[in-house]
Symmetry: C2
Subunit: 428 residues, 2 copies
């Protein structure tokens, strides 16, 4: 066992154990949902994944509870009474037809750190908390990071009727269906006094680390995300009986907006801006009917908060112009709006020091995706550690891939980071 | 009762009876399918609608049978043995979220003519056949007029595995599920010697009659329709983690193709051409995932067969160019291809004479939509009689509207046309 500068303790993880845990979670997917993993937010399947976490952590001797937002927390006691907790973790819900690493890698890392600390009788002054956030993906309800937003006080019980899924189920109804009492959600808010720091391990979901061959990633800033829905109302009519000049086609209007969004994000002034129309619903979606209604879902990401909001406003303004010119009814609704977050130097330095201590290569990089840590930054200092994504950085896809070796390396750095924070934080 | 030049007999229909029948069929709609009527081809619900027709026609004293394609035919005997039949009818299936008149108006007209002829003891030399074709709408399987195509020998048992619906059910499986034996389909082919003429009453599904205030319509040509599917394969990836320049977005490619189709059909050389992308499926269709796959369904209609095929070819060629430029995988499949049909003067003249006889205004016009009569024109001379569509001619939509008075007027002209053909046809 290596000596460390900070705590003197390191642990060694094994790729085979990591792979076995990843596979165990991958098996929990909706039947007949097509390729990849489908384990949506606030479904019985997400709850089963949390149960797997709970059982393993209890077996490792930790106290485990699920809070009023559906977040599951396992605590390993510290040696000094009354200190705030140092946390790590991620999420276990997925988008439809997802890969097996997004969120899961960070939860598996937390589970392995807890197990290895127990096996190696590692002690720490602060309590360590291993967290699985509920409902991180915005795929089902439009809003991302619902569990961590509730923990951070950013989403409250009053908001739960605002979000509905494709079947018309509200967030409130979905929570109740998962055995969570939505009226008690506000009890899940984290107290600042209880938390000293939080570190999340996550796959990069981009190709910077893999293409540059630089090993692990230490995140300096998490992109903001502004999400909105655009409803276009044209006139459904027979494809044969209606001359081109008499049509009010919602899909041709939607097509213009899709291309405007792409063009805007691709110009010189938007280097780093990412605009995506990821979802488009067409009604009645029949080959012989001119589409009467289209609903677009737009996601604007940026590391610059002013440019992020200006881009969203410009997409909306130009979309409205398209609709007006075509005589198409227009309505837009804001779904979510989170600013970029610069992560504190304190935790970045602890991760960098841990990489140096263990002789692991790393680079500093921004995160294009939003993460639970972004919300938790309202509560305490947070850090993010990325492991490389292969296959061109593909994520939210069955082709998502990270190696067990890279995740194992990340687990060892995460463990060292937590112990370094435990020693270094001026909270005792 | 008025005297007629041809047969000396007319009948008087009543709007209230027409409305009651329209409403009876409108009530047969899939539960929880949203607004309007959903009664798709080769479903138990379409069969129930055929059963209503069967019961009513038996009550009117006719012999009724359902053929091996699921078409239902009711026969009223003629006074001269061995003459070929004169037919009328339409269809009872619908697109998803349809109106209540498309197809139904022509079936109700047939039912009313049969009932009125029985009540008024009208006789005719030829047998009259009242027909409900199965599966006229292409919405479910991509191919329109399946029942009449089988009657015309244009679709055979060997074709039934080529078509699948959105759930992956083949046409063969759907027929079997509706109690039809797909292996016997070829027995439903109509013999030319058995048929003298066929007249279909249908709503216009356009706004020419309503906007010009010209009453009924006598169709001179039915547009052809070329339908194909385009599959685009990009790369699903995280909306935040993937820079614009590294994306292979299937939806932005699809959006370009949608606009190309619209632009092409709207230029000066395509007056009368109608190109529609009525259906677009996006995968995985999640707000935070760049679309990996899109499937477009394109319908090209024209009264000019050469321009129809050239337009379809050009949309396909330009779509492929878009895909190639974007690095998106491209595949296309032809779904259906029917040429325009010029309707014979013989039946047009009989309809026009019937309008004159009853003092009904009419105009000659083309049909943008395809119809069962187009297929039946392979078997015998056919005619089409249009009643006005209100609400800008909207069809394939819950807003579809024709008045009971206009349909009643059409029924009276249809009855007179059938009797005129009965007298005038040189088949006895």
């Amino acid at each position: 066992m290596k000596r460390t500068a900070a705590s003197g303790t390191t642990v060694t993880a094994t790729p085979a154990t990591v792979t076995a845990l990843i596979d165990e979670f991958a098996a929990l997917s909706e039947p007949r949902s097509g390729p990849g993993v489908t384990r949506l937010a606030y479904t019985p399947l997400e709850r089963r994944a949390h149960d797997v976490f709970t059982e393993r952590m209890r077996a490792a001797g930790l106290r485990v509870w699920t809070d009023a937002a559906g977040n599951t927390i396992a605590e390993r006691q510290g040696t000094v009474a009354g200190l705030p907790a140092i946390g790590t973790g991620s999420h276990l819900d997925s988008v439809p037809n997802a890969g097996t690493f997004d969120g899961v890698a960070g939860v598996v890392a937390a589970m392995e750190v807890a197990r290895l600390f127990t096996e190696n009788a590692v002690t720490h002054r602060h309590p360590l908390r291993f967290v699985v956030f509920a409902a991180e993906e915005g795929a089902r309800f439009g809003q991302a990071c619902t569990g961590s937003r509730i923990a951070a006080g950013l989403t409250t019980a009053a908001d739960l009727d605002r979000f509905t899924d494709a079947e018309g189920t509200t967030l409130r109804e979905a929570m109740r269906g998962s055995g969570i009492d939505p009226d008690r959600v506000d009890e899940a808010t984290w107290m600042r006094a209880e938390w000293a720091a939080f570190v999340e391990l996550h796959i990069e979901q981009g190709s910077v680390l893999d293409s540059s061959g630089t090993g692990l990633g230490v995140v300096d800033v998490i992109s903001g995300s502004t999400r909105f829905r655009v409803d276009l109302h044209g006139r459904a009519a027979h494809s044969g009986g209606t001359p081109m000049e008499l049509r009010i086609d919602a899909l041709t209007a939607a097509a213009e907006i899709v291309l405007i969004a792409e063009e805007l994000a691709s110009d010189d002034e938007h280097d780093g801006t990412r605009v995506t129309v990821g979802r488009l619903d067409v009604e009645p979606n029949s080959i012989t009917t001119i589409p009467g209604d289209c609903r677009l879902y737009v996601d604007v990401r940026d590391v610059d908060p002013a440019r992020q909001r200006a881009t969203a406003d410009e997409v909306l303004a130009r979309a409205r112009t398209v609709a007006d010119r075509r005589g198409v009814g227009f309505r837009s609704d804001m779904l979510a709006d989170a600013s970029p977050v610069a992560l504190p130097q304190l935790v970045r330095d602890a991760m960098a020091a841990a990489c140096d201590q263990l002789d692991r290569r790393y680079r500093i990089l921004p995160s294009g995706a939003s993460h639970d840590s972004q919300m938790i930054s309202r509560v305490c200092p947070v850090g993010m550690l990325f492991v490389p994504s292969l296959n061109h950085g593909v994520s939210h896809s069955p082709d998502e891939l990270s190696t067990a070796e890279d995740i194992t390396s990340g687990i060892e750095v995460l463990a060292a980071t937590l112990l370094s924070l435990d020693t270094g934080l001026q909270t005792g």
